[in-house]
Amino acid sequence: MEDAIQLLVDAVSVGAQYALLALGIALLFGIMNLINFAYGELLMIGGYALVVLAGMWAPLMVLVSIAIVVVAALLMDRIAFKPVRRADATTLLVTSFALSYLLQNVAIMIFGSLPETTGAGSGLARSIDIAGVVVSRLDLVLIAVAGALIVALVLIVKRTALGIQMRAAAEDFEMARLIGVNADRIIAVGFAMSGLLAGVAGYFLVAQTGSVSPTFGVSAVLIAFIATIVGGLGSLRGAVLAGFALGFITIAFQELLPAGLVPYRDAFVFAVVLLTLVLRPQGLIPQTARAARV
Protein backbone atom coordinates (compact mmCIF):
# COMPACT_ATOMS: atom_id res chain seq x y z
CA MET A 1 0.00 0.00 0.00
CA GLU A 2 2.71 2.52 0.98
CA ASP A 3 4.60 1.59 -2.15
CA ALA A 4 1.55 2.20 -4.26
CA ILE A 5 1.02 5.64 -2.75
CA GLN A 6 4.66 6.52 -3.23
CA LEU A 7 4.42 5.47 -6.86
CA LEU A 8 1.29 7.50 -7.33
CA VAL A 9 3.02 10.58 -5.90
CA ASP A 10 5.91 9.96 -8.27
CA ALA A 11 3.61 9.63 -11.25
CA VAL A 12 1.60 12.75 -10.38
CA SER A 13 4.78 14.71 -9.83
CA VAL A 14 6.37 13.67 -13.12
CA GLY A 15 3.05 14.24 -14.85
CA ALA A 16 2.68 17.71 -13.34
CA GLN A 17 6.17 18.59 -14.52
CA TYR A 18 5.38 17.42 -18.06
CA ALA A 19 2.04 19.22 -18.02
CA LEU A 20 3.75 22.52 -17.08
CA LEU A 21 6.22 22.08 -19.91
CA ALA A 22 3.52 21.13 -22.42
CA LEU A 23 1.29 24.08 -21.49
CA GLY A 24 4.10 26.51 -22.25
CA ILE A 25 4.38 25.12 -25.77
CA ALA A 26 0.63 24.75 -26.34
CA LEU A 27 -0.13 28.34 -25.31
CA LEU A 28 2.04 29.87 -28.00
CA PHE A 29 1.01 27.37 -30.61
CA GLY A 30 -2.61 28.18 -29.91
CA ILE A 31 -2.15 31.92 -30.27
CA MET A 32 0.34 32.22 -33.08
CA ASN A 33 0.91 28.80 -34.66
CA LEU A 34 4.41 28.82 -33.26
CA ILE A 35 6.11 25.68 -32.02
CA ASN A 36 8.76 27.35 -29.95
CA PHE A 37 11.74 25.00 -29.73
CA ALA A 38 13.65 27.78 -27.99
CA TYR A 39 11.34 27.10 -25.03
CA GLY A 40 14.03 24.65 -23.88
CA GLU A 41 16.49 27.52 -23.71
CA LEU A 42 14.11 29.42 -21.44
CA LEU A 43 14.47 26.49 -19.06
CA MET A 44 18.22 26.73 -19.46
CA ILE A 45 18.24 30.47 -18.80
CA GLY A 46 16.27 29.81 -15.62
CA GLY A 47 18.79 27.17 -14.63
CA TYR A 48 21.83 29.41 -15.13
CA ALA A 49 20.02 32.26 -13.36
CA LEU A 50 19.86 29.99 -10.31
CA VAL A 51 23.59 29.26 -10.65
CA VAL A 52 24.46 32.95 -10.87
CA LEU A 53 22.12 33.96 -8.05
CA ALA A 54 23.50 31.31 -5.69
CA GLY A 55 23.75 32.63 -2.14
CA MET A 56 20.60 34.70 -2.29
CA TRP A 57 17.77 33.90 0.13
CA ALA A 58 16.20 30.83 -1.54
CA PRO A 59 12.60 31.98 -2.06
CA LEU A 60 13.76 35.33 -3.43
CA MET A 61 16.27 33.57 -5.67
CA VAL A 62 13.51 31.42 -7.16
CA LEU A 63 11.27 34.41 -7.79
CA VAL A 64 14.08 36.43 -9.36
CA SER A 65 15.06 33.53 -11.61
CA ILE A 66 11.45 33.14 -12.77
CA ALA A 67 11.23 36.87 -13.43
CA ILE A 68 14.42 36.64 -15.50
CA VAL A 69 12.89 33.86 -17.60
CA VAL A 70 9.70 35.88 -18.15
CA VAL A 71 11.77 38.84 -19.33
CA ALA A 72 13.81 36.51 -21.58
CA ALA A 73 10.58 35.18 -23.10
CA LEU A 74 9.34 38.71 -23.78
CA LEU A 75 12.68 39.62 -25.37
CA MET A 76 12.48 36.50 -27.52
CA ASP A 77 9.14 37.71 -28.85
CA ARG A 78 10.33 41.26 -29.39
CA ILE A 79 13.68 40.51 -31.02
CA ALA A 80 13.29 37.17 -32.78
CA PHE A 81 9.63 36.48 -33.49
CA LYS A 82 7.99 39.86 -33.96
CA PRO A 83 9.88 40.60 -37.19
CA VAL A 84 8.62 37.34 -38.72
CA ARG A 85 5.11 37.51 -37.28
CA ARG A 86 3.37 37.53 -40.63
CA ALA A 87 5.48 34.69 -42.01
CA ASP A 88 4.20 31.13 -42.40
CA ALA A 89 4.47 28.40 -39.78
CA THR A 90 7.64 26.94 -41.33
CA THR A 91 9.52 30.22 -41.06
CA LEU A 92 8.49 30.52 -37.42
CA LEU A 93 9.66 26.96 -36.77
CA VAL A 94 13.03 27.56 -38.39
CA THR A 95 13.39 30.82 -36.45
CA SER A 96 12.76 28.98 -33.19
CA PHE A 97 15.36 26.31 -34.10
CA ALA A 98 17.93 28.95 -34.96
CA LEU A 99 17.23 30.83 -31.75
CA SER A 100 17.50 27.64 -29.72
CA TYR A 101 20.88 26.81 -31.25
CA LEU A 102 22.13 30.37 -30.87
CA LEU A 103 21.23 30.53 -27.18
CA GLN A 104 22.87 27.17 -26.49
CA ASN A 105 26.07 28.48 -28.03
CA VAL A 106 25.92 31.71 -26.09
CA ALA A 107 25.63 29.58 -22.95
CA ILE A 108 28.69 27.57 -24.02
CA MET A 109 30.64 30.82 -24.52
CA ILE A 110 29.69 32.11 -21.09
CA PHE A 111 29.60 28.99 -18.94
CA GLY A 112 31.43 26.35 -20.99
CA SER A 113 29.85 23.13 -22.18
CA LEU A 114 30.28 21.21 -18.93
CA PRO A 115 27.39 21.11 -16.47
CA GLU A 116 27.45 23.61 -13.61
CA THR A 117 26.28 22.13 -10.35
CA THR A 118 23.98 24.12 -8.16
CA GLY A 119 22.50 23.70 -4.71
CA ALA A 120 19.32 25.50 -5.68
CA GLY A 121 16.46 23.39 -4.51
CA SER A 122 18.53 21.47 -1.99
CA GLY A 123 16.15 22.83 0.61
CA LEU A 124 13.50 20.62 -0.92
CA ALA A 125 15.66 17.54 -1.06
CA ARG A 126 14.62 16.04 2.27
CA SER A 127 11.95 13.40 2.34
CA ILE A 128 9.08 13.57 4.73
CA ASP A 129 7.18 10.79 6.34
CA ILE A 130 3.41 10.99 6.28
CA ALA A 131 1.82 8.07 8.13
CA GLY A 132 4.49 5.65 7.02
CA VAL A 133 4.57 6.89 3.42
CA VAL A 134 7.87 8.47 2.56
CA VAL A 135 7.62 11.13 -0.10
CA SER A 136 10.06 13.81 -1.16
CA ARG A 137 9.24 17.38 -0.30
CA LEU A 138 10.24 18.33 -3.81
CA ASP A 139 7.51 16.12 -5.25
CA LEU A 140 4.87 17.58 -2.95
CA VAL A 141 5.87 21.18 -3.63
CA LEU A 142 6.01 20.50 -7.35
CA ILE A 143 2.53 18.99 -7.35
CA ALA A 144 1.08 21.86 -5.32
CA VAL A 145 2.74 24.62 -7.34
CA ALA A 146 2.09 23.03 -10.74
CA GLY A 147 -1.50 22.29 -9.77
CA ALA A 148 -2.11 25.86 -8.63
CA LEU A 149 -0.45 27.27 -11.74
CA ILE A 150 -2.44 25.06 -14.09
CA VAL A 151 -5.74 25.88 -12.37
CA ALA A 152 -4.93 29.61 -12.38
CA LEU A 153 -4.04 29.51 -16.06
CA VAL A 154 -7.15 27.60 -17.01
CA LEU A 155 -9.30 30.08 -15.04
CA ILE A 156 -7.61 33.04 -16.72
CA VAL A 157 -8.09 31.56 -20.16
CA LYS A 158 -11.69 30.44 -19.54
CA ARG A 159 -13.08 33.27 -17.48
CA THR A 160 -11.33 36.59 -17.93
CA ALA A 161 -11.61 39.19 -20.66
CA LEU A 162 -7.94 38.58 -21.40
CA GLY A 163 -8.63 34.86 -21.76
CA ILE A 164 -11.50 35.45 -24.18
CA GLN A 165 -9.22 37.62 -26.28
CA MET A 166 -6.51 34.95 -26.20
CA ARG A 167 -8.92 32.24 -27.33
CA ALA A 168 -10.34 34.46 -30.04
CA ALA A 169 -6.83 35.21 -31.29
CA ALA A 170 -6.01 31.52 -31.21
CA GLU A 171 -9.03 30.64 -33.33
CA ASP A 172 -8.92 33.43 -35.91
CA PHE A 173 -6.15 35.94 -35.46
CA GLU A 174 -7.21 38.29 -38.26
CA MET A 175 -10.81 38.45 -37.07
CA ALA A 176 -9.67 39.01 -33.51
CA ARG A 177 -7.81 42.13 -34.64
CA LEU A 178 -10.87 43.33 -36.55
CA ILE A 179 -12.86 43.17 -33.32
CA GLY A 180 -10.28 45.18 -31.42
CA VAL A 181 -7.91 42.59 -29.97
CA ASN A 182 -4.46 44.14 -29.75
CA ALA A 183 -2.34 41.55 -31.54
CA ASP A 184 1.06 42.54 -30.15
CA ARG A 185 -0.21 42.74 -26.62
CA ILE A 186 -1.96 39.39 -26.68
CA ILE A 187 1.11 37.65 -28.11
CA ALA A 188 3.33 39.32 -25.52
CA VAL A 189 1.01 38.05 -22.79
CA GLY A 190 1.27 34.56 -24.31
CA PHE A 191 5.07 34.75 -24.24
CA ALA A 192 5.05 36.04 -20.66
CA MET A 193 2.82 33.17 -19.52
CA SER A 194 4.95 30.71 -21.42
CA GLY A 195 8.01 32.22 -19.71
CA LEU A 196 6.38 31.91 -16.30
CA LEU A 197 5.71 28.22 -16.93
CA ALA A 198 9.28 27.72 -18.17
CA GLY A 199 10.69 29.53 -15.15
CA VAL A 200 8.80 27.34 -12.72
CA ALA A 201 9.42 24.10 -14.63
CA GLY A 202 13.10 25.04 -15.01
CA TYR A 203 13.47 25.52 -11.27
CA PHE A 204 12.01 22.10 -10.53
CA LEU A 205 14.20 20.51 -13.19
CA VAL A 206 17.29 22.06 -11.56
CA ALA A 207 16.13 20.95 -8.14
CA GLN A 208 15.80 17.39 -9.45
CA THR A 209 19.06 17.16 -11.38
CA GLY A 210 21.25 19.54 -9.35
CA SER A 211 23.04 20.83 -12.44
CA VAL A 212 22.63 22.95 -15.54
CA SER A 213 24.28 22.61 -18.94
CA PRO A 214 23.81 24.45 -22.25
CA THR A 215 21.62 21.59 -23.53
CA PHE A 216 19.71 21.44 -20.25
CA GLY A 217 16.32 22.14 -21.85
CA VAL A 218 16.58 19.96 -24.93
CA SER A 219 15.08 16.71 -23.69
CA ALA A 220 12.47 18.51 -21.61
CA VAL A 221 11.25 20.47 -24.61
CA LEU A 222 11.06 17.24 -26.59
CA ILE A 223 8.76 15.73 -23.96
CA ALA A 224 6.72 18.93 -23.89
CA PHE A 225 6.45 18.91 -27.65
CA ILE A 226 5.30 15.28 -27.68
CA ALA A 227 2.71 15.95 -24.99
CA THR A 228 1.42 18.91 -26.97
CA ILE A 229 1.03 16.83 -30.11
CA VAL A 230 -0.59 13.94 -28.26
CA GLY A 231 -2.93 16.38 -26.52
CA GLY A 232 -4.03 17.89 -29.81
CA LEU A 233 -1.93 20.81 -30.99
CA GLY A 234 -3.19 24.06 -29.52
CA SER A 235 -5.51 22.48 -26.97
CA LEU A 236 -4.57 23.56 -23.45
CA ARG A 237 -6.67 20.89 -21.78
CA GLY A 238 -5.17 18.32 -24.15
CA ALA A 239 -1.64 19.41 -23.27
CA VAL A 240 -2.30 19.07 -19.54
CA LEU A 241 -4.00 15.72 -19.98
CA ALA A 242 -1.25 14.35 -22.20
CA GLY A 243 1.44 15.68 -19.84
CA PHE A 244 -0.05 13.76 -16.95
CA ALA A 245 -0.62 10.68 -19.11
CA LEU A 246 3.03 10.72 -20.20
CA GLY A 247 4.12 11.03 -16.57
CA PHE A 248 2.00 8.08 -15.51
CA ILE A 249 3.14 5.91 -18.40
CA THR A 250 6.78 6.75 -17.72
CA ILE A 251 6.52 5.74 -14.07
CA ALA A 252 4.48 2.64 -14.96
CA PHE A 253 7.17 1.38 -17.35
CA GLN A 254 9.83 2.27 -14.80
CA GLU A 255 8.13 -0.04 -12.29
CA LEU A 256 6.78 -2.79 -14.49
CA LEU A 257 9.57 -3.41 -16.99
CA PRO A 258 12.03 -6.22 -16.18
CA ALA A 259 15.27 -4.80 -14.80
CA GLY A 260 17.16 -5.40 -18.06
CA LEU A 261 14.70 -3.29 -20.03
CA VAL A 262 14.41 -0.33 -17.67
CA PRO A 263 17.19 1.63 -19.46
CA TYR A 264 14.96 1.52 -22.56
CA ARG A 265 11.97 2.92 -20.67
CA ASP A 266 11.66 6.00 -22.88
CA ALA A 267 11.58 3.86 -26.01
CA PHE A 268 8.54 2.09 -24.60
CA VAL A 269 6.93 5.41 -23.70
CA PHE A 270 7.45 6.68 -27.24
CA ALA A 271 5.99 3.44 -28.62
CA VAL A 272 2.80 4.19 -26.67
CA VAL A 273 2.87 7.74 -28.03
CA LEU A 274 3.16 6.46 -31.60
CA LEU A 275 0.32 4.02 -31.06
CA THR A 276 -1.86 6.82 -29.64
CA LEU A 277 -1.19 8.99 -32.65
CA VAL A 278 -1.98 6.13 -35.04
CA LEU A 279 -5.33 5.68 -33.30
CA ARG A 280 -6.03 9.40 -32.81
CA PRO A 281 -4.04 11.38 -35.37
CA GLN A 282 -5.62 14.67 -34.23
CA GLY A 283 -4.55 14.09 -30.63
CA LEU A 284 -6.63 13.42 -27.55
CA ILE A 285 -8.61 16.67 -27.80
CA PRO A 286 -8.70 17.62 -31.49
CA GLN A 287 -8.96 21.30 -32.36
CA THR A 288 -11.57 21.12 -35.09
CA ALA A 289 -12.03 24.83 -35.61
CA ARG A 290 -8.38 25.47 -36.24
CA ALA A 291 -7.87 22.38 -38.36
CA ALA A 292 -10.41 23.85 -40.75
CA ARG A 293 -8.50 27.11 -40.89
CA VAL A 294 -5.01 25.76 -41.57
Binding site: I164, R167, A168, D172, L178, I179, G180, V181, A183
Partner: protein, 236 residues
Protein backbone atom coordinates in the same frame (compact mmCIF):
# COMPACT_ATOMS: atom_id res chain seq x y z
CA UNK B 1 -17.95 60.52 -42.50
CA UNK B 2 -15.90 58.11 -44.62
CA UNK B 3 -13.90 59.53 -47.51
CA UNK B 4 -11.99 57.19 -49.80
CA UNK B 5 -9.88 59.00 -52.36
CA UNK B 6 -8.01 57.43 -55.27
CA UNK B 7 -7.47 54.15 -53.47
CA UNK B 8 -5.26 51.66 -55.32
CA UNK B 9 -4.56 48.25 -53.83
CA UNK B 10 -2.43 45.48 -55.34
CA UNK B 11 -1.67 41.88 -54.44
CA UNK B 12 1.84 41.48 -55.78
CA UNK B 13 1.55 42.77 -59.33
CA UNK B 14 -2.21 42.36 -59.66
CA UNK B 15 -4.09 45.57 -58.99
CA UNK B 16 -7.36 44.56 -57.35
CA UNK B 17 -8.54 48.12 -56.82
CA UNK B 18 -7.70 51.10 -59.04
CA UNK B 19 -8.13 54.68 -57.92
CA UNK B 20 -11.41 54.08 -56.20
CA UNK B 21 -13.06 57.21 -54.86
CA UNK B 22 -16.20 57.08 -52.78
CA UNK B 23 -17.79 58.52 -49.69
CA UNK B 24 -20.36 57.68 -47.06
CA UNK B 25 -22.12 60.51 -45.28
CA UNK B 26 -23.34 60.65 -41.68
CA UNK B 27 -26.30 58.27 -41.29
CA UNK B 28 -26.14 57.19 -44.91
CA UNK B 29 -26.59 53.65 -46.26
CA UNK B 30 -24.30 53.19 -49.24
CA UNK B 31 -23.98 50.05 -51.33
CA UNK B 32 -21.08 48.87 -53.47
CA UNK B 33 -22.17 46.27 -55.97
CA UNK B 34 -20.30 44.33 -58.61
CA UNK B 35 -19.51 40.85 -59.83
CA UNK B 36 -17.31 38.32 -58.10
CA UNK B 37 -13.67 39.41 -58.18
CA UNK B 38 -14.49 43.08 -58.76
CA UNK B 39 -12.54 44.18 -55.71
CA UNK B 40 -15.38 44.75 -53.24
CA UNK B 41 -13.78 42.82 -50.38
CA UNK B 42 -10.42 44.38 -51.15
CA UNK B 43 -12.00 47.80 -50.71
CA UNK B 44 -13.57 47.04 -47.32
CA UNK B 45 -10.55 45.14 -46.02
CA UNK B 46 -8.24 47.99 -46.94
CA UNK B 47 -10.44 50.57 -45.25
CA UNK B 48 -10.51 48.32 -42.16
CA UNK B 49 -6.70 48.23 -42.06
CA UNK B 50 -6.02 44.70 -43.27
CA UNK B 51 -4.15 45.79 -46.42
CA UNK B 52 -1.88 48.71 -47.04
CA UNK B 53 -2.91 50.55 -50.19
CA UNK B 54 -0.39 51.31 -52.92
CA UNK B 55 -1.84 54.78 -53.29
CA UNK B 56 -4.73 56.90 -52.12
CA UNK B 57 -6.21 58.19 -48.91
CA UNK B 58 -8.84 57.01 -46.44
CA UNK B 59 -10.29 59.41 -43.91
CA UNK B 60 -12.79 58.54 -41.19
CA UNK B 61 -14.30 61.52 -39.39
CA UNK B 62 -11.57 63.60 -40.99
CA UNK B 63 -8.84 61.43 -39.53
CA UNK B 64 -6.37 59.77 -41.92
CA UNK B 65 -6.54 56.04 -41.15
CA UNK B 66 -4.27 54.60 -43.85
CA UNK B 67 -1.69 52.38 -42.17
CA UNK B 68 -3.51 52.18 -38.84
CA UNK B 69 -3.83 48.67 -37.39
CA UNK B 70 -7.24 46.97 -37.67
CA UNK B 71 -7.66 46.96 -33.89
CA UNK B 72 -7.18 50.73 -33.79
CA UNK B 73 -9.59 51.38 -36.62
CA UNK B 74 -12.41 49.48 -34.94
CA UNK B 75 -11.58 51.50 -31.84
CA UNK B 76 -12.26 54.69 -33.84
CA UNK B 77 -15.81 53.39 -34.37
CA UNK B 78 -15.48 51.89 -37.86
CA UNK B 79 -16.38 48.18 -37.74
CA UNK B 80 -16.13 45.54 -40.47
CA UNK B 81 -18.17 42.35 -40.65
CA UNK B 82 -15.99 40.45 -43.11
CA UNK B 83 -17.11 38.13 -45.87
CA UNK B 84 -17.75 34.65 -44.50
CA UNK B 85 -18.85 35.93 -41.08
CA UNK B 86 -15.80 34.75 -39.10
CA UNK B 87 -17.54 34.34 -35.81
CA UNK B 88 -15.42 32.57 -33.19
CA UNK B 89 -16.86 29.07 -33.34
CA UNK B 90 -15.21 27.71 -30.21
CA UNK B 91 -16.35 30.69 -28.13
CA UNK B 92 -19.87 30.95 -26.77
CA UNK B 93 -22.34 33.41 -28.25
CA UNK B 94 -22.03 35.54 -25.10
CA UNK B 95 -18.22 35.57 -25.40
CA UNK B 96 -18.43 36.63 -29.04
CA UNK B 97 -20.64 39.53 -28.00
CA UNK B 98 -18.35 40.41 -25.11
CA UNK B 99 -15.44 40.75 -27.53
CA UNK B 100 -17.53 43.20 -29.51
CA UNK B 101 -18.30 45.18 -26.39
CA UNK B 102 -14.61 45.32 -25.46
CA UNK B 103 -13.86 46.69 -28.93
CA UNK B 104 -16.16 49.59 -28.07
CA UNK B 105 -13.73 50.70 -25.36
CA UNK B 106 -16.40 51.56 -22.85
CA UNK B 107 -18.95 52.94 -25.32
CA UNK B 108 -21.39 50.18 -24.32
CA UNK B 109 -22.24 48.43 -21.07
CA UNK B 110 -23.22 44.78 -20.68
CA UNK B 111 -26.77 46.04 -20.20
CA UNK B 112 -26.66 47.96 -23.51
CA UNK B 113 -25.59 44.79 -25.30
CA UNK B 114 -28.37 42.74 -23.67
CA UNK B 115 -30.86 45.35 -24.80
CA UNK B 116 -29.45 45.45 -28.32
CA UNK B 117 -29.73 41.67 -28.62
CA UNK B 118 -33.28 41.61 -27.24
CA UNK B 119 -34.38 44.34 -29.64
CA UNK B 120 -32.55 43.49 -32.84
CA UNK B 121 -31.18 39.95 -32.54
CA UNK B 122 -33.79 38.05 -30.50
CA UNK B 123 -32.87 34.69 -32.07
CA UNK B 124 -29.51 34.89 -30.27
CA UNK B 125 -31.00 35.35 -26.81
CA UNK B 126 -31.51 31.72 -25.96
CA UNK B 127 -28.03 30.72 -27.20
CA UNK B 128 -25.90 32.73 -24.76
CA UNK B 129 -23.79 29.80 -23.59
CA UNK B 130 -23.86 27.81 -26.82
CA UNK B 131 -20.62 27.54 -28.80
CA UNK B 132 -21.17 29.85 -31.75
CA UNK B 133 -20.11 27.12 -34.18
CA UNK B 134 -23.37 25.30 -33.45
CA UNK B 135 -25.57 28.10 -34.81
CA UNK B 136 -27.10 27.93 -38.28
CA UNK B 137 -25.62 30.04 -41.08
CA UNK B 138 -28.24 32.74 -40.70
CA UNK B 139 -27.84 32.88 -36.95
CA UNK B 140 -24.07 33.10 -37.35
CA UNK B 141 -24.47 36.04 -39.70
CA UNK B 142 -26.72 37.75 -37.17
CA UNK B 143 -24.15 37.08 -34.47
CA UNK B 144 -21.38 38.52 -36.65
CA UNK B 145 -23.41 41.71 -37.09
CA UNK B 146 -24.46 41.78 -33.43
CA UNK B 147 -20.83 41.39 -32.37
CA UNK B 148 -19.85 44.39 -34.48
CA UNK B 149 -22.83 46.42 -33.22
CA UNK B 150 -21.96 45.59 -29.60
CA UNK B 151 -19.04 47.99 -29.99
CA UNK B 152 -21.56 50.72 -30.91
CA UNK B 153 -19.68 51.67 -34.06
CA UNK B 154 -20.41 54.99 -35.77
CA UNK B 155 -20.14 53.17 -39.07
CA UNK B 156 -20.61 49.56 -40.07
CA UNK B 157 -19.11 47.87 -43.14
CA UNK B 158 -20.82 44.66 -44.24
CA UNK B 159 -19.17 42.34 -46.78
CA UNK B 160 -21.80 40.23 -48.54
CA UNK B 161 -23.92 39.49 -45.48
CA UNK B 162 -26.44 37.51 -47.58
CA UNK B 163 -23.85 35.15 -49.03
CA UNK B 164 -24.72 31.48 -48.66
CA UNK B 165 -27.93 32.04 -46.68
CA UNK B 166 -31.37 30.51 -47.25
CA UNK B 167 -33.84 32.96 -48.88
CA UNK B 168 -35.78 33.59 -45.66
CA UNK B 169 -32.55 34.36 -43.84
CA UNK B 170 -31.47 36.68 -46.65
CA UNK B 171 -34.67 38.62 -46.06
CA UNK B 172 -34.03 38.74 -42.32
CA UNK B 173 -30.49 40.03 -42.79
CA UNK B 174 -31.53 42.77 -45.22
CA UNK B 175 -34.35 43.73 -42.86
CA UNK B 176 -31.76 44.03 -40.11
CA UNK B 177 -29.60 46.29 -42.27
CA UNK B 178 -32.59 48.55 -42.87
CA UNK B 179 -33.36 48.72 -39.15
CA UNK B 180 -29.78 49.52 -38.15
CA UNK B 181 -29.73 52.24 -40.80
CA UNK B 182 -33.06 53.62 -39.55
CA UNK B 183 -31.55 53.84 -36.06
CA UNK B 184 -28.84 56.10 -37.38
CA UNK B 185 -25.85 53.86 -38.04
CA UNK B 186 -23.91 54.78 -41.17
CA UNK B 187 -23.51 51.66 -43.31
CA UNK B 188 -21.31 50.66 -46.22
CA UNK B 189 -22.83 47.51 -47.69
CA UNK B 190 -21.06 45.33 -50.24
CA UNK B 191 -23.20 42.89 -52.23
CA UNK B 192 -23.30 40.72 -55.31
CA UNK B 193 -27.05 40.75 -54.89
CA UNK B 194 -27.13 44.04 -56.76
CA UNK B 195 -30.80 44.74 -57.29
CA UNK B 196 -31.57 44.10 -53.65
CA UNK B 197 -28.71 46.20 -52.30
CA UNK B 198 -29.33 49.12 -54.63
CA UNK B 199 -33.01 49.26 -53.72
CA UNK B 200 -32.16 49.47 -50.00
CA UNK B 201 -29.34 51.97 -50.23
CA UNK B 202 -29.52 55.75 -50.39
CA UNK B 203 -26.71 55.71 -52.91
CA UNK B 204 -24.72 53.01 -54.70
CA UNK B 205 -21.47 52.51 -56.52
CA UNK B 206 -20.87 49.92 -59.21
CA UNK B 207 -17.44 48.30 -59.13
CA UNK B 208 -16.00 46.33 -62.05
CA UNK B 209 -12.48 44.99 -62.40
CA UNK B 210 -11.29 47.21 -59.60
CA UNK B 211 -12.75 50.42 -60.98
CA UNK B 212 -15.83 52.33 -59.95
CA UNK B 213 -17.78 52.60 -63.19
CA UNK B 214 -21.01 54.18 -61.98
CA UNK B 215 -22.39 56.03 -59.03
CA UNK B 216 -25.91 57.22 -58.34
CA UNK B 217 -28.86 57.67 -56.02
CA UNK B 218 -31.35 54.85 -55.61
CA UNK B 219 -33.91 56.25 -58.06
CA UNK B 220 -31.32 56.95 -60.75
CA UNK B 221 -29.82 53.51 -60.54
CA UNK B 222 -33.11 51.64 -60.31
CA UNK B 223 -34.51 53.57 -63.25
CA UNK B 224 -31.97 52.30 -65.71
CA UNK B 225 -31.36 49.08 -63.82
CA UNK B 226 -32.38 46.91 -66.74
CA UNK B 227 -29.90 48.55 -69.07
CA UNK B 228 -27.27 48.40 -66.38
CA UNK B 229 -27.64 44.66 -65.81
CA UNK B 230 -24.61 43.89 -67.90
CA UNK B 231 -22.54 46.36 -65.88
CA UNK B 232 -23.65 44.92 -62.53
CA UNK B 233 -23.20 41.36 -63.60
CA UNK B 234 -20.07 41.78 -65.66
CA UNK B 235 -21.84 40.20 -68.58
CA UNK B 236 -22.32 36.92 -66.78
Amino acid sequence: MLEVDGLTVAYGRVEALREATLSVGEGELVAVVGPNGAGKSTLLNTVAGRHRPRAGAVAFDGRDIVGAAPERIVGFGLALVPEGRHIFETLSVAENLRLGRMAGRGRTSAEDVRELVARRFPVLERYADTPAGRLSGGEQQQLAIARAMAAKPRMLMLDEPSLGLAPLMVDAVFELVVQLHAEGTSILLVEQNARRAVSLADRSYVLRSGRIVREGRREELLEDFEQMTSAYMGGG
